[in-house]
Symmetry: C2
Subunit: 82 residues, 2 copies
Amino acid sequence: MAKEFTFGVTVMPRKEVLDTQGRAVEETLKREGEPVVSARVGRYVELKVTGTTVKEAEATAQKISSGLLANTLIETFELKLL
Amino acid sequence: MAKEFTFGVTVMPRKEVLDTQGRAVEETLKREGEPVVSARVGRYVELKVTGTTVKEAEATAQKISSGLLANTLIETFELKLL
């Protein structure tokens, strides 16, 4: 019997890659005088999948994350079961 | 003496608002035969701020999140001290 599992997927730019969005946020905040040291911007996806076991559902989420949600060449992702 | 505090800010579209990115991800995955029930897409920002206390740093992060990172009319956000 298939159950539903929800995963939180956080996708962030790799440290070596220039994070243009993060830079823009950082500079805007600094210009406004906010006590900001740095900002990095990524994506967050809440993914609900079905599977017979947690293990199976996690494998699905892993596959989807590396195949569609993240560009692993320039981004890293982290899966968390919610 | 000011210390540095890092916050993880998760910004998600409100439930009442049509999440076009999430819909696109959901439909693409379903079309590819993945066992996906739903997908919601938001942003994740790692924000490093300075403050003399956690309380002060959190107030700064809160202000920045509601003022710049999230459009609270159509989005909600969640702060987490990392």
